[in-house]
């Protein structure tokens, strides 16, 4: 293949990374924005989503002979709420007891990271396990070629995508629109935004702030799990898979302006596409080195993020 089709393929892979990343990072940004804490265990909620998706779909297939489509829909409906319950339990047992102190929360969530990861290792095992996609039609893509002095559409070999990959992008966009509607146009969203702006004032107006915190922590985890359920038919579930999404989400949330969900989504698209293109054409390790160093520099010289306005923090 030539450069053009390669680039389009890279951008397509990048959009899938961007879509999943936007969901995961939006969860992290929501938690940071409202609870004002950094959840280092966020990547493990992503991993839990993927592992639960595998568990749900294989259990259904073995017990009732359900096809991949039913298994996938069940995973989509059950894995995010289950992950949210784990997160809410962690919030009640740990975060609330240390009063959401920013530094102690980081130490405690590092602990939570190891607990979730190692508990998964003990129960799920060290193998990577695949989940079958519900549908996976191959879609070949055309590319203009010069034939006998005039342009015509050709179908280069290996140039194409699958229906499932396109579905991932559409589904992620739909969820993000839903999240935006929830935050902007519902009473619950209003309560969440009020808590974000001034927790003492919100409490004075009778908003149950601790319950809002638990809910937001659960919602953040559910978004990460949802991203994982969507990507697991492409990527396989593994107990160590939480590391990369955590790092990338950190990068995205920092570039997008800490805590702003809108900026986070823009940054996710940017980072996802760059990641797709860079990892096709350059060494993946070099790309990661540059990205991590860049993020550190952004925090050092522009703590409000590239797109963020100067804020209280």
């Amino acid at each position: 293949m030539e450069f053009g089709p390669h680039l389009v393929l890279a951008l397509l892979e990048g959009s899938i990374t961007a879509a999943v990343l936007a969901l995961t990072a939006a969860g992290l940004a929501l938690v940071f924005g409202i609870l004002r804490v950094v959840n280092v265990a966020h990547g493990e909620f992503f991993m839990l989503g993927a592992v639960l998706a595998w568990f749900i779909s294989t259990t259904l297939a073995e017990a009732f002979g359900a096809g991949p489509a039913i298994g996938f829909v069940a995973a989509l409906l059950l894995a995010p709420p289950a992950t949210a319950l784990v997160a809410i339990a962690a919030d009640r047992l740990v975060l609330r007891r240390i009063g959401y102190d920013p530094e102690r929360t980081i130490v405690a969530t590092i602990g939570l990271l190891y607990v979730l990861q190692q508990a998964t290792l003990m129960s799920f095992g060290p193998e990577a396990r695949p989940v079958e996609p519900p549908f996976n039609t191959r879609i070949a893509l055309p590319w203009p070629e010069r034939v006998d002095g005039s342009w015509a559409l050709g179908w280069p070999w290996g140039f194409g995508t699958t229906s499932y990959k396109l579905f991932v992008i559409v589904a992620a966009v739909a969820v993000l629109v839903g999240l935006w509607l929830l935050l902007r146009h519902t009473r619950l969203g209003l309560i969440m935004r009020a808590t974000e702006q001034d927790r003492d004032m919100a409490r004075a107006f009778g908003i149950p702030v601790t319950r809002v915190y638990a809910l937001v922590f659960g919602l953040g985890a559910a978004l990460a799990a949802l991203g994982a359920v969507l990507v697991v038919p492409i990527q396989q579930a593994h107990y160590l898979m939480g590391g990369d999404p955590l790092l990338l989400s950190f990068i995205v949330v920092i570039i997008g302006g800490l805590g702003s969900v809108g900026g986070t989504v823009v940054a996710a698209v940017l980072i996802g596409l760059t990641d797709g293109v860079v990892s096709v054409f350059f060494s993946a390790t070099l790309a990661k080195i540059i990205a991590t160093l860049l993020v550190a520099m952004v925090l050092v010289f522009r703590p409000q993020g590239l797109f963020g306005k100067a804020s209280a923090r």
């Binding site: 602990g111 190692q118 050092v300």
Partner: protein, 310 residues
């Protein structure tokens, strides 16, 4: 006075340990002493200056690879290689510390984490020399200092103990000096320290450099005494471990790092015999410490009567 007696008593006990403990435990203890040096370096910044760094593996690895690579690639003898390792870790700490100190709180933690992650990735990227995750073994012939064979069990134990004693006593002197007290003043109330005319940024920067050199010395000693350098030592896990040791032993105390390292080392050693998922214990310990024992063992003892504890 009591404090100095305590320090000398601890060192005397460690000398005695060689003669009474079975070889398995003295072998462990040599490793623990080197790691406790690392924990003490971390404690200066975290326990005394109140800066929570999540990237100290960068300094440990700077010492480890500073020594390992100058022996392996440039054929330096051990003594100049130690010099290279110390200088390299000081330089890395000076540059990253200067940049990271422009931020505070959570941003400081993330920036240090990112710097360390960059260092880890560089180690992997430079796989031609570092051999990445697999690491490389430093030949026994190169591991001699003043004519002593550092691979010998007894010499290794006392070499580790000597390094530990030097760091233990000098840090104890440092934290009771004017510099150490100004660090505590900054930790307790940074605004007030600034108001009193202290150059807060400069003092913190110095603390990070000293801490980086001590951590680098631990890394260099690890490579020299145990003859191995690998990327694991640059990974996030090795930034979290000193935090865990210091939290358990007692941040801002001189004997806390040693206590924490001993306890945690044996806890992990015990757990890894039972299950592969021994890191589960590390996680549970971190959570339990933040919840129930934020001052650590030595800090709790100090609060409950032993107020003279340094």
């Amino acid at each position: 006075m009591k404090a100095w007696l305590l320090h000398l008593g601890v060192l005397a006990l460690l000398v005695l340990a060689w003669f009474v403990l079975p070889p398995y435990h003295t072998g462990n203890l040599a490793r623990i002493l080197v790691l406790a040096v690392y924990a003490q370096g971390f404690n200066l910044v975290f326990g005394y200056a109140g800066l929570l760094s999540l990237g100290h593996a960068l300094f440990f690895a700077a010492g480890l690879y500073g020594l390992g690579l100058s022996i392996q690639q440039f054929g330096l003898p051990a003594l100049p290689a130690i010099g290279v390792a110390l200088f390299f870790s000081a330089a890395v700490a000076a540059v990253t510390g200067y940049l990271a100190l422009r931020t505070r709180g959570v941003a400081f933690m993330i920036v240090t984490l990112m710097f360390a992650q960059t260092g880890y990735l560089v180690v992997l990227y430079a796989g031609t020399w570092t051999r990445g995750d697999e690491g490389f073994v430093i030949a026994r012939a190169a591991r001699t200092l003043f004519g002593l064979d550092l691979a010998d069990e007894r010499i290794r134990y006392f070499a580790a103990l000597t390094l530990f004693a030097i760091v233990f006593l000098s840090l104890a002197a440092l934290v009771s000096s004017g510099f150490g007290r100004s660090l505590v003043a900054i930790r307790e109330n940074e605004e007030r320290a600034r108001l009193l005319g202290y150059d807060v940024q400069r003092i913190k920067w110095r603390a990070i450099i000293v801490s980086g050199v001590v951590s680098g010395a631990a890394g260099a000693a690890y490579a020299l005494l145990f003859g191995y350098a690998g990327a694991t030592f640059a990974s996030v896990q090795y930034s979290i471990l000193p935090l865990l040791w210091v939290l358990l032993g007692g941040p801002g105390t001189t004997i806390g790092p040693l206590i924490g390292t001993v306890f945690m080392f044996y806890l992990v050693d015990f757990a890894s015999e039972i299950t592969d998922a021994y890191l589960l214990l590390v996680g549970l310990a971190l959570i339990a410490l933040t919840l129930f024992l934020p001052r650590g063992i030595a800090g709790e003892l100090r609060r409950r009567g032993l107020t003279w504890l340094p």
